[in-house]
């Protein structure tokens, strides 16, 4: 076992994916010579060369489109979009081309494209470099969305994404780069669509991903001191979504608190709550709660961003409010 950071796990997953299959190539802005804007790809171009690891112009449409065309011809592109917010620049390629191509052609093509994006707030990057943009893509059938919260999940989901025959958007959270975990030499793949029960409990089901998973765990620790046993679940992928694991938990706890770092409208948390309300209404002892930031862009100043993002106190308060209902 080797102590590995979230960032290191991503680097290792990319290296192992390239080593495993010559059809895999990696392209993006500064992923090669510079080793990536967040240094997640340090050393990769040195090892695999410029044929397989390619620096591109700042042209997100061209990056994603090239990945689509190459995938149609049988390659397995791993394309990086530096900040997830830039998904807007390539939105047509992702929403109208990547997601629909297989369907529109009656299954003639498969698109094993992985797009690697850095998302999330908390680090002072301001309104255009901090968003949890995975929520923008929920309404587009045809895209799988991975949101790893730990080094093991980052490694396992990246490997699974590259090996998957469908398009996968892999969101790494900028606030987790230095999270550490002991990983074996060959860490396991993580199946897309399989949630993890992070902590077992019988009082309240809390569902959270990425940075919010860690804050929810902090809240759960604090609540344990008060005798409240939180069951914390991390879905790990938003599409496909492991509804069954969460529903089974809610059937037992009768309480649901969902935590996310994006405003409520059109988000995965809101979708989950609507489905639980529709399918598990009689199992609930309290209204499901959604702990979210307010409906504003992500602010810059430290004090404002701290107020914007849900923290352990807000999560704990939501859990207690649910139990007190």
């Amino acid at each position: 076992m080797t102590e590995t950071t979230y960032k290191g796990a991503i680097n290792k997953a990319i290296v192992d994916a390239l080593a495993a299959d010559d059809d895999v190539f990696f392209l993006g802005e500064d992923v090669g010579a510079a080793g990536g804007a967040f240094k997640t790809s340090v050393g990769i171009q040195e090892r695999f060369g410029e044929r397989r690891v390619l620096d591109t112009p700042i042209s997100e449409q061209a990056i994603v489109g090239l990945a689509i065309g190459a995938a149609m011809k049988g390659l397995r592109p791993l394309a990086e979009i530096m900040f997830a917010d830039f998904v807007g620049v390539a939105f047509d390629q992702i929403a109208n081309q990547l997601a629909k191509y297989r369907y529109m052609t009656g299954g003639q093509v498969k698109l094993p494209v992985t797009i690697h994006l850095a998302s999330g707030g908390g680090a002072g990057f301001g309104a255009q470099h901090s968003q949890a943009a995975e929520n923008w893509l929920l309404n587009i059938p045809g895209l799988k969305l991975a949101v790893p919260g730990t080094p093991a999940d980052a490694y396992g989901l990246m490997r699974a994404a590259v090996e998957d025959d469908d398009p996968v958007l892999f969101f790494e959270h900028k606030g987790l780069f230095n999270v550490k975990e002991d990983l074996p030499e060959e860490p396991a793949r993580v199946e897309l669509g399989r949630a993890e029960v992070v902590r077992e409990g019988d009082a309240v089901t809390v569902v959270a991903t990425q940075l919010m998973r860690h804050r929810a765990l902090e809240a759960a620790d604090a609540l344990a001191g008060k005798g409240i046993a939180v069951e914390l679940i991390d879905p790990r992928t938003l599409v496909p979504f492991d509804f069954a694991t969460i529903a089974t938990s809610v059937d037992r706890t009768n309480h649901l608190v969902v935590v996310q770092e994006a405003p409520a409208g059109g988000s995965w948390g809101a979708t989950l709550i609507s489905r639980i309300a529709a399918e598990r209404f009689e199992m609930l002892d309290a209204p499901p709660a959604l702990v979210v930031p307010p409906d504003t862009p992500v602010p810059y100043a430290g004090a404002l961003e701290a107020a914007w993002l849900p923290d352990a106190e807000k999560i704990a308060a939501a859990v207690e409010a649910s139990l007190a209902y």
């Binding site: 112009p57 090239l66 190459a70 109208n96 052609t105 003639q108």
Partner: protein, 330 residues
């Protein structure tokens, strides 16, 4: 062989080849005519964008490709898809939303695709397929297959960001792709001069360090010759070329557009330069018997008629097909 430099006498092989180009253009013309007619009868849903008048670009360019090469095009893509060799009946079937259609009825008129013949897709977002064309060309270079990709788009596409990103990337990576701009003078309903500050779109190639050439897109041999030279250049690893083929959309933008914005006399002027007419004249001047020229037309008419009959008899997809083809494996 250039149309403008007519050989004294065509060999039997050359004559057959030239007549085949004529037949292929007729086939597209008849196909489009039927799509227009059946749209009015309610067999075509939504809309359809006909390429009547632009057949020489589709046929000339696709005949410059070889097996293993590939092509992407726009929602005005029936001509290019057929020119690559997509079966007439399955193409009709797709336009009519029938189960045996090229895409099982899931794509429709704007998305004709036939991977069997290298027709990688017709795209309904202006310019969106140029980045994808680069990807197909990238695969050829990555695996060293020697294949080339031809990408068709309209004059309107040259004002969208994806065009510029794509030409730039194709050029710096020297991708084996030929960008074929069909300049039919109108971006949807707007004349080019109202949307574009330059008159020669081929000049845009200079900004991306690649050759740009303007050709007569209504002369099938001129198109074939220019694209063949660009294909050869691409195959040799020398990178992309932008070809601007001057042509004319004889019908409106879509089936609901009567094209009343055209100046008086413009259509007539271009009808006199109809690509099928021009190539027929060239054949006659090259000494090809009128009976053979007529036979090429008759063969196309017959093939289209038979294919149409078959496609109209085909069933619509079963409702269960709705949920198929989203994922490879769920």
């Amino acid at each position: 062989m250039n149309e403008r430099t007519r050989p004294a006498k065509l060999s039997a092989e050359e004559r057959a080849e030239q007549l085949e180009l004529l037949r292929a253009m007729h086939e597209i013309r008849f196909f489009e005519h039927e799509c227009g007619r059946l749209f009015a009868r309610g067999e075509v849903r939504g809309t359809t964008h006909l390429c009547e008048g632009q057949e020489a670009v589709s046929v000339g360019a696709c005949r410059a490709l070889r097996e293993g090469d590939s092509m992407t095009c726009t929602y005005r893509g029936h001509g290019a898809t057929l020119a690559m060799g997509a079966p007439l009946d399955e193409s009709f079937g797709e336009v009519f939303g029938r189960a045996p259609g090229l895409c099982g009825g899931k794509g429709g008129s704007m998305h004709l695709t036939d991977l069997r013949v290298g027709a990688l897709g017709s795209h309904a977002i202006v310019g969106a397929h140029l980045p994808i064309a680069n990807g197909a060309a990238f695969e050829a270079r990555y695996r060293g297959t020697g294949a080339v990709h031809a990408c068709f788009f309209g004059d309107g596409s040259t004002n969208i960001g994806a065009f510029h990103e794509s030409l730039n990337l194709a050029s710096i990576w020297k991708l084996p792709v030929v960008f074929v701009c069909e300049n039919n003078l109108y971006g949807e309903y707007s004349p080019l001069a109202t949307t574009t500050p330059i008159e020669r779109l081929a000049d845009r190639a200079a900004a991306y360090g690649m050759p740009g050439e303007r050709i007569d897109g209504n002369r099938v041999l001129e198109v074939r010759e220019a694209v063949a030279a660009a294909v050869e250049r691409a195959r040799a690893g020398e990178g992309p070329t932008l070809i601007e083929a001057m042509t004319y959309r004889q019908k409106g933008h879509s089936r609901t557009d009567p094209a009343k914005y055209r100046p008086e006399g413009e259509l007539e002027e271009w009808l006199a330069r109809d690509p099928i007419l021009l190539h027929g004249k060239w054949l006659a001047e090259a000494g090809v018997e009128q009976a053979e020229i007529d036979a090429a037309e008759a063969a196309a008419r017959e093939a289209v008629g038979e294919a149409l009959e078959r496609a109209l008899a085909w069933p619509e997809p079963e409702p269960a097909a709705l949920l198929e083809d989203v994922w490879v494996a769920s």
